[in-house]
Amino acid sequence: MTTLLPEHQVRDAHRHSKSSQTKRYGFFPGCVAKESCKELFNSTMLLADRLGIELIELTAASCCGASVVNDTNRDIARVLNARTYAQAEALGLDDVITICSTCTGHMRAANKELLESEERMTHANAILGKFGAKYEGNVMVRHLLWLLIDDIGLDTLRSMVVRPLNGLKVAPFYGCHIIRPESVNGWESARNPHSLEDLIEAIGGEAIDYAGKTRCCGFHIQLEKGNTAASMVGQNMRIAKDKGAEAVLTPCPLCHLALDGYQQDAAARWGRTDLPVFHLPQLVAFALGIPAQKLGLNKHLIDPRVVLTDRELIA
């Protein structure tokens, strides 16, 4: 049977007080935002600055395990993440923000395992103790998407928009691990999430409702069987395109790599789709007035500047 996390580990209930102080968050960028999707890292920092929040990068944090470490050993990823949480606690940062669906899901799963079992917590701390670290169990992992909606709020975001998207038709693509399994994430319905849609509407776009939004991008099997992975991209992008989407918005850099990189390979089976794919903070930052040239849009394989020009959002 699945059990749900306690409410305070899901929603940021006790941190809602609107203080004038800059809010400080622990920040876990993940590997891909530091390697092949640096534009995601950069646009996140620019957006945080514009929002007046401080993201303090956990620079000594390791990979979250990326769902692959579990394939050989069930303990390693849990203890790696416990180490990350201990670092956050040592800096006085209980709120850890991620910018990747896979990091979100796997870090939350590890945290859930630790919080649910004293035996596992003791086991992890016995290993962390070898280098003088300890995890007290106070950390909560949340995605930037959740922060935007829970802490900043859609109304505030709406009021900060200086460059509304002019009705740009955007298809949300959640990325599996930010919604499933529901027992680990639980922040919104995994069957029918709508946070990305709400966000798209708040920044002046039109959200496209389509069956692919909660489906898998195939990233994790790209190296196992490339054609199959590409086909998963093509299938979802075909549905989005047929529903009138002009662009895609994703909170996950792995989905971004798959959707941006594999549409071309999927064209043979699914027809050309060529939908540009925005990282979540890129599109929000753009609407909040950060210049397009600072957001790394030139790093995408399918150039999103074309659709922005078509919509007369950039010259």
């Binding site: 590997c31 390697e35 070898k130 069957r191 099997i221 190296l223 196992e224 054609n227």
Partner: protein
């Protein structure tokens, strides 16, 4: 009583070229199950509506179907939990299967994958040579209880996005069943079974958790990881991409604290696998042209020794 309209997929492979839909308006209590609503429609309105069912209590696994876009057992889904605001419930056959008649589908691909696993115990010795009972301790049995709840309703198979584009993939249920025999202490064919499920693309699971909607809480996604882990422990097919990928990811994290993308691609495809590398090269070149290639050499994170300590402490699994 509520006014509920069932919007039902209709198709008869014997006479129809294309499917159509029938709307059946009913007055029924909204708390009854979708299966009860279908039974009511069949009994009172249109006797030709076809669907599979037997036990009506989530034990036989016959009545999985797509209900307002959500695949699950009709007998376990109360109407009021899925009702649209306009009072309709759209009912379709399970995706990933060929429809036969209305909500009845051809289950053959699902059963084929299941039968390939030889889903029966194969003890290491003959009963004549070993006339005593084959006993299982309560602890060993615990591992099998969850997966023994599988009723083979194929909900997970219907939800699997990999199956939807690549029918070669065994699918979640078959792999969960492989687990059921691999972890059974009475079975003597562990390596053969692991080899078989590897041949049926065990490692093609995309980690999407779509099968976490299993109506019987078999948690196929966790069983798939268990079988992968056992495959690595038993060193089965270690030279194939799946296990290599898992091992090289571990290796780069141990070395640098980060998942090194460049090394993972080379290590998975094979550094000397020229054909394989050429296949991933075009995308690599397109990424390079945008200045998007990951670094070739990763700088280790601060205090990477701690990460290595964690790996060294755990490389032999110690905690279940």
């Amino acid at each position: 009583m509520a006014k509920i309209t069932l919007d039902i997929f209709r198709f008869d492979q014997a006479v129809d070229d294309i499917p159509h839909r029938d709307k059946v308006a009913l007055e029924i209590p909204e708390t009854i199950t979708v299966l009860d609503a279908l039974e009511f429609a069949k009994a009172e309105v249109d006797g030709s509506i076809s669907f599979r069912r037997s036990c009506r209590s989530a034990i036989c696994g016959s009545c999985s179907m797509n209900i307002n876009g959500v695949t699950g057992l009709a007998c376990k889904t109360p109407c009021n939990t899925v009702l649209r605001s306009d009072g309709t419930i759209a009912i379709d056959p399970m995706p990933n299967f060929q429809p036969m008649k209305d909500l009845v589908v051809h289950m053959d691909p699902f059963w084929d994958k299941y039968t390939r696993l030889k889903p029966y115990l194969q003890p290491p010795d003959r009963d004549e040579d070993n006339p005593t009972e084959r006993r299982v301790s309560p602890d060993d049995m615990k591992k099998l209880v969850e997966v023994a709840n599988c009723v083979m309703c194929a909900t997970c198979y219907a939800l699997c996005p990999v199956v939807s584009v690549d029918p070669a993939f065994a699918g979640p249920a078959a792999i969960a069943y492989a687990y059921r025999f691999v972890e059974d202490v009475r079975d003597g064919q562990t390596k053969e079974r692991l080899g078989q499920i590897n041949d049926d693309y065990l490692w093609l699971c995309a980690h999407c958790y779509a099968c976490s909607y299993c109506p019987k809480h078999v948690e196929p996604h966790d069983r798939i990881v268990d079988v992968k882990r056992r495959t690595v422990q038993e060193s089965v097919h270690m030279n194939e991409r799946g296990p290599r990928h898992a091992l090289v990811v571990n290796k780069t994290i141990k070395q640098t604290g980060m998942l090194g993308e460049t090394e993972v691609i080379q290590g998975t495809v094979g550094r000397f696998n020229i054909r394989g590398l050429l296949k991933v090269a075009p995308l690599g070149l397109r990424m390079a042209s945008k200045g998007k290639l990951p670094p070739i050499f990763l700088r280790p994170i601060p205090k990477v020794d701690e990460v290595r300590t964690i790996f060294e402490s755990l490389e032999v699994p110690t905690l279940k």
